[in-house]
């Protein structure tokens, strides 16, 4: 039990560091369980958060990027993993309005996010500005433009 407490303590320290660096742009930060940090940042601040983590924590591993359709907004979650002690998974979430889904890319900061951004763009229509090659990745070639299968207002036609 004492080990668990200690782990959480060091994760709290990480959050404090982030709070100091990001200030009011960090909307929410909590530890869900050991090795799971959840962060919510203002749209646009995700770059700053990720850059801070890379420069100060040597964090390179992007596990994946998830897009969730929340109705008015599209939530974009960056799942990161910190190799160094204390090892922990960090979820940086931000949101973009569905009417104008534009977000700055993080490929220049963390190159491994390249394919994940393309995937989110394909399936949810989030445009990552500054991405070097935001082409169709996984949808079929004859898929109509502007149709995003993972949005809630799209349903597959039943055959």
């Amino acid at each position: 039990m004492s080990k668990k407490k200690k782990e959480i303590k060091s994760e709290e320290k990480l959050i404090e560091e982030l709070k100091a660096a990001l200030g009011p742009q960090l909307e929410e930060a909590y530890i869900k369980r050991p090795r799971r940090i959840h962060l919510k940042v203002k749209p646009g601040a995700h770059r700053k958060a990720v850059e801070y983590m890379r420069d100060n924590w040597d964090l390179w591993h992007v596990s994946t990027i998830t897009g969730v359709d929340l109705g008015e907004n599209i939530e974009v979650i960056f799942h990161l993993w910190r190799f160094k002690e204390p090892q922990t998974a960090i979820m940086v979430r931000t949101y973009v309005p569905k009417s104008n889904p534009k977000l700055e890319t993080i490929t220049d900061i963390l190159p491994s996010s390249n394919f994940y951004e393309r995937e989110v763009h394909d399936l949810l229509g989030v445009v990552f500005e500054g991405h070097p090659n935001l082409e169709r990745l996984i949808l079929p070639e004859d898929w109509p433009e502007g149709v995003y299968p993972l949005r809630k207002d799209w349903q597959p036609t039943q055959e």
Binding site: P140, D142, E159
Partner: protein, 144 residues
């Protein structure tokens, strides 16, 4: 029937060459097909050899539902197989679309794209079932 065509038919039934193709399946059927070719089940004793090119194949062994992206390529590949061609659909998805029915990337079973001769259901079918399918196909070849 001329002597030559008799010879060709004899060769085909004694040693059908197959091309294994995944049209969008989950690999499970694929590893079972390979397992059927391996020492334990050994379909090679029927003279069946796995080929790398459609131009050398008599039988197309397909697994998985057919995806939208794959369909035109699959047709192209099917056209490359010399006549007469035979198609074996291995697995539930290849037969009907299976669990993937209704997914937006999936068209349905193999028979939505090309005519199928033998269906082997199962998810995945056991190697024994695949061998049974092969035996049925050989009987069909004999009749053709």
């Amino acid at each position: 029937m001329g002597l030559l065509s008799k010879l060709v038919k004899w060769a085909r039934t004694k040693s059908p060459w197959i091309l294994h193709l995944n049209t969008g399946g989950c690999n499970a059927c694929d590893i079972e097909i390979l397992a059927a070719l391996m020492p334990r089940f050994d379909v090679e004793r029927f003279g069946i050899i796995l080929m790398g090119s459609p131009r050398h194949a008599d039988v197309l062994v397909c697994t998985g539902p057919i995806t939208k992206q794959m369909k035109p390529r699959f047709r192209k590949l099917y056209e490359q197989v010399p006549d007469p061609k035979f198609v074996m659909a291995v697995g539930n998805c290849a037969c009907t679309g299976g669990v993937f029915k209704g997914c937006y990337g999936v068209e349905g079973g193999i028979d939505t794209a090309v005519p199928v001769d033998v269906y082997v259901p199962g998810c995945p079918p056991k190697p024994e079932a695949i061998i049974d399918g092969v035996a049925k196909l050989l009987a069909k070849l004999q009749k053709s």
